[in-house]
Symmetry: C2
Subunit: 401 residues, 2 copies
């Protein structure tokens, strides 16, 4: 025998979103400016009250000890009373546990819902790390397909029914959806809830983009599906809501006591969530509504700009998103990953280039999405225009090589 | 079928250290003061430079974005150049990756070393969360026993040899050891390194208590075992070193490129380590040596106080630790967990009580350690004296019920 890392880690898929980062880093080392439309890392200012709370706590800090594994009581109570109550989600403190961002919340939720060999139904395209955590836990994702050809419309529940086996344990959705930007209507949520109830499935609802909805109808949370109280596991995060991606604070919410007891065991194994981040999340609870209104308006401007510019590029079509801050665009190329990489290694306009994310890894069905990219419209309009102009020029140059 | 959480999470062991916390919380709600000797959460001041750096970053903060999954370059470089170089561990930046505290580091290390069904050799008693992560990943821990009867002396390497099968993939040690407080000598480390090399095993070395050594000999890191460069995976943390337990910043270090590539894949799946915490860790790099010297002296005083007082209680024996800030004590009771719980629910001296940790879960061998507790000597001597005095009185009352 020789010294070898485990087969499981050898076979673990690398993050499709992050694996091209070294090429971007190399470009930057050459002095190239890279416009990042590849990661959902917005440039919007964090609420000042969030940062101020960290400073205030630091001023009187003796030492930074562990908190309860479930998070600081002040944060848990604050989320229940100041945030969820305001948006019409009625929960008690024991039904909420602070997590190390949405990432830990959905990793735990998936393991709580399903054993090795079990299956979870997702809607494709989906957030790529769902696949990573499914792989690590031996869970198979079964995909309900949606397509750019019909604007990623969510199919009839009969498409979900077709996938049910005796191994199916949960449905996992992100709403608004990363990467397609689709938004589930109340009717769609009720139908999915009914489906989960009939088949005794958990409904893991990743709502980290809840504040980014661009329709007149309010966001309808899975937590408000009548009769689904025991089925729903809510995954949430402060990352996008308050532009505090680096705080690494999220939460898991459920009325189901067994779910919360299991979540606590996971939480105890990592001792406690990041405490400076918990302070920032406590401060963020006082963010005024005007902050969200302004951010929403800003994203509508960015979305409109992005979708219009993308669709004006010959051979490109992009769908109109109604939530989150992503759109999927189909490009006139055979292999979008090769194009994205080429933009980083070979193409510059005035020492600038643009980075987007190849979309194939958001799909379970082989081959689908190979010509697509995900565009995060996370830059201010003037910057976004520059970035997309470079993308258009790059595409033209790439296709006429 | 009915809606059920997964069998794996049902069977997952609850944290032995944290499962009695609700009884402590209940006592506090009654107005009882609880002396916490149960968790390794020291009361020593964090270095001011660590807190100052967070405040400094906050002052100019626009928004808190993700960092590279491997951590901020300034932190990685700083750890390599300002910390590890100073203590004689010679590494390059790509050989270090920032983790969400030691917890994530050893969870990743275990999965990198071993697949489901594989085995890892540990020395018993061991840190209880090793068992949790082994359980979650289907890894079997095989224990080399050490005993309070001979002061937890590390046995001859022949005891390790007896446990080797074709499933053995790693040896996992904590040095200094939580919970026994034992310290591996250079000779012992060389013997374990030789053993790992001969059998092509990884050596996962959890050295989070490195700064807490109470012998004249310097700590000998696994990173400095000649010829073991490809085998060693170092697990480290700022939690104990700088009394920044809540920062949730640690690192994984290895010369083995496959190990680091796998660690990066895990890191990418959770996007990035907590950023405020990374700032505090950058600030902490400027902690003067006098801080460590003072802390060390303080812990020697606490240790001497704790061991002396414990051994003066009739029927109690405690071993002398040479590292970390724990000692294991054997009590004149049949079931230490029952006693610990009783202290929280029934026993008070002037509305005060003391909490320690039942030690059975630190052992793999059934029944061993059932009469033992782990005592974390993490309070100042006057407080420690009060806490242990209450423990002594409680023990006397418990035994004469």
């Amino acid at each position: 025998m020789s010294l070898q890392i485990s087969n499981n880690t050898k076979q673990m898929p690398a993050s499709a979103i992050r694996k091209l980062v070294p090429f971007a880093d190399a470009a930057k080392e050459q002095g190239v400016k890279v416009y990042h439309l590849n990661v959902g890392a917005p440039d919007i200012k964090s609420p000042q009250c969030a940062i101020d709370e960290v400073v205030r706590r630091c001023a009187s800090m003796h030492h930074l000890s562990y908190t309860n594994s479930a998070g600081l009581m002040k944060l848990r109570k604050g989320l229940v009373e100041k945030y969820y109550k305001k948006i019409g989600i009625d929960i008690e403190v024991p039904e909420l546990l602070v997590e190390v961002a949405g990432s830990e919340a959905f990793a735990s939720a998936m393991q709580i819902a399903a054993d090795r060999g079990d299956e979870i139904i997702v809607i494709e395209p989906y957030y790529t790390n769902y696949q990573t955590f499914a792989f690590l836990n031996g869970i198979t994702l079964k995909a309900v397909p949606t397509s750019i050809d019909n604007d990623f419309r969510i199919p009839d529940i009969s498409e979900f029914e077709k996938l049910v086996t005796d191994k199916t344990k949960a449905v996992l959705i992100s709403n608004p959806c990363n990467p397609s930007g689709k938004l589930f209507s109340k009717e769609e949520m009720l139908a999915i809830g009914d489906f989960c109830r009939r088949h005794d499935l958990f409904l893991i609802s990743d709502e980290v983009y809840r504040e980014f909805c661009y329709t007149e109808e309010p966001h309808f949370s899975a937590m408000n599906i009548p009769g689904c109280e025991q089925n729903v596991i809510l995954v949430d995060s402060v990352s996008k809501r308050y532009n505090l991606c680096g705080a690494r604070i999220g939460c898991i919410v459920s009325h189901n006591k067994d779910v919360m007891a299991a979540a606590l065991k996971f939480a105890q194994s990592r001792l406690c969530p990041p405490v400076f981040g918990q302070y920032s999340a406590i401060g963020a609870l006082d963010t005024p509504q005007s902050y969200f209104d302004d951010v929403r308006e800003e994203y509508i401007r960015r979305r409109d700009c992005a979708v219009k510019m993308l669709n004006s590029i010959p051979g490109v079509r992009a769908s109109m998103p109604y939530g989150a801050f992503y759109t999927i665009a189909e490009l006139p190329v055979d292999d979008a990953e090769d194009f994205v990489k080429w933009m980083l290694t070979d193409f510059r306009v005035d020492s600038q280039t643009t980075m987007v994310t190849p979309a194939a890894s958001f799909y379970k069905t082989p081959g689908v999405g190979k010509r697509q990219v995900r565009i995060a419209y996370v830059l201010e309009v003037p910057e976004l225009e520059k970035a997309l102009d470079i993308l258009a020029k790059g595409l033209s140059a790439y296709c006429s090589r």
